[in-house]
Symmetry: C2
Amino acid sequence: MAIPAYLTQHQNRFLEELIDWLRIPSVSADPKFHGDVLRAADFIKDKLQAAGATLVEICPTAGNPIVYGEYMAGPDRPTVLVYGHYDVQPADPYELWTSPPFEPVIKDEKIYARGACDDKGQVYMHVKALEMMLRDGGLGAPCNIKFMFEGEEEIGSDNLGLFVKANKEKLQADVILISDTGILANDVPSIEVGLRGLSYHEVEVTGPNRDLHSGLYGGAVMNPINALCDMISSLHDENRHVTIPGFYDNVAELSTAERAELAQAPFSEAEFEQSIGLPAATGEAGYTTPERTSIRPTLDVNGIWGGYTGEGAKTVIASKAYAKISMRLVPHQTSDEITALFQKHFESIAPAGITVKVTPHHGGEPIVTPTDSVAYRAAARALETTFGKKPVPTRGGGSIPIVAMFKSELGLDSVLLGFGLDSDAIHSPNEHFGVFNFLKGIETIPEFYREYAAASK
Amino acid sequence: MAIPAYLTQHQNRFLEELIDWLRIPSVSADPKFHGDVLRAADFIKDKLQAAGATLVEICPTAGNPIVYGEYMAGPDRPTVLVYGHYDVQPADPYELWTSPPFEPVIKDEKIYARGACDDKGQVYMHVKALEMMLRDGGLGAPCNIKFMFEGEEEIGSDNLGLFVKANKEKLQADVILISDTGILANDVPSIEVGLRGLSYHEVEVTGPNRDLHSGLYGGAVMNPINALCDMISSLHDENRHVTIPGFYDNVAELSTAERAELAQAPFSEAEFEQSIGLPAATGEAGYTTPERTSIRPTLDVNGIWGGYTGEGAKTVIASKAYAKISMRLVPHQTSDEITALFQKHFESIAPAGITVKVTPHHGGEPIVTPTDSVAYRAAARALETTFGKKPVPTRGGGSIPIVAMFKSELGLDSVLLGFGLDSDAIHSPNEHFGVFNFLKGIETIPEFYREYAAASK
């Protein structure tokens, strides 16, 4: 299908607007950016309004506000609730960015900035798709559309659940549409139908009541850093299985047929290794790389610190050491179950002389979305129209905890119509989003509404 | 023996002068304190001069300068070379200090400040002891005394060796006197006759070529932090023996008789545990706590860092992780030997997908000093005079690498006439030095010269 003239005409302005938004460092994990988080919310509220949404409002929560807006096409039309988030991951380590994370630039047809892909760039596709549908002389939107953009996705969406509980009426819809995932490649459209859950913890181990001289005390006290390393090391066995008792009890083992079907998705081990500069992908014995990152649960240390980390040498035995440890979950593990198992196990493996404090950060549930729903088929057809290719269903390794929450609170399935790429380096230095992907999203979203409205008649 | 009237009369001034010196943050490990390091050198140079030393000079080196001065009593007198250091350990974590590390205060008869005991307080005892001997109406010093105070002891004394090599003539002496150690208790005088050596390394492990999203990649790549923990954990076995091949090959095993003699030194396991707030002292199987901290080599992680260590949660797999790892050595290990073994072994245990860089920081040799020398006996008698008790010979766990260097370069033994206490928290927050210990040092040092001159006749 030909790219709409309006999109071609206005694409530069669309990009400039997105870049203005990306300039606002809406980092939710760090309180010092709180003012910017609020500015980012105001920005998108104004743009929603300008695009033609009604009832646009900033809804306060105990944390960061939720931006809500809607466009009502008519009582006879199906209703789509669009979810996205305007907060971003912390940008450090800053020194590894080739251009500053909050001074967006377009290089080789890619927008470089923190949040370019995750998720401000993908949220902005929806705002511009609305503008395109409602412009003078446009056909209008064939569906009722409700927009809900939150500011706490990167820190666990703690207040979204309460907001949803309290606004079930207002949020009534037929399906949820989310663009916070990716496609396999720009010539291999795909739709994520599965996501992993999350259990995230901060651990603190304490040994002696103060930092000690490693010469005077070394050898006679359990060093908290050594102890923490022992404890972390013991969480995997030689096959990279997680050793927490009960960890795999509820893991859904896929049938050979299901594994074979997933193996259909094009994947190059060599390209994967080359893209991250590793001689060899390694992981849990008995599974392929795509399986290890989708249908299998994992445990990773996301951060560790303790003792002297400055310049030069300090011969000290630290009193405390810390780590941030997270687990990715798959059906039918639950974050509450795994959080409890981890806490109990990690406390139980502390050696003599070491006390442990485990602080669970936040969790999310794994999900699998249906591929036989009206909405999934509409999304598939929309992608086929704009990419000229049938999309492949894939299972992703990331987590969008709120998908399970929407199912339980609103009884709604979600369609994950994302346009990012694995190589976009989200959560990493030099995050970027392809200009092609941004524009292709704006082009595809109205097609989804058209297909969905038609199929819902 | 009665405390000299001069000491009683002037002790407040002595304390005030020391406090002025402690105000200068002469941290050698951190370049931003370089100017203060130089100021600390100037300060002690002036005080040496004022006390009556001649030829006082600041000797430049490739690093921090060495302060030299001397007092010549006569060609017929024995010559003592006094060594000490005016640089101090970094003071962080600052927040754990009850009073700022460089705003010295006297609380419960103790001077609280970084360097109060290690080593500025002990160096200053020597300067005031000289003043006391040379004051109007004083008896003068019975020995020729040479003073050599360096500013790089806490970072490995890299330039002291070159200085000594280049100034063997000037530094000619009969014995070296060092006050950089401690006594067992204020009512249990002791002299250290053994010190452990040191091999200190910074390690860097690298996995993927950039930070990765732990959801998209978790499970398929070796996480550098997990790998570092595995590697560190593997450095000890279940008996807390170090697993580096060849690590114990040259360790001098003490005879039952020697171990029994060392066990004579009064030691309370309960007090030790209580003083550091641990339920139980733990360490290498088959050895007592005093043995683990003196006659046995150890391996400790002094610092570790990697990944996201800020507030909140970041789901990242870091590209790199780091640690500072040091080993305490005992006769007849050498730091070169152990440094090579560590480097080779640590590189060899890197798992697939992980590259390792080991950067040796600095080392020092373990030593045992004779207890049958004229100088040792003179020190023992001096302590007996001022404490009213025979001192106990002990073997310490710390390292004064230059003692071995003095032996090899100048052919001189050292006497470790230190006045600190284990509880002084050197290298830790709230380092302090007892006023009693400071004054007792000033009182004892002239006694040592008297005894040594008499015995050398």
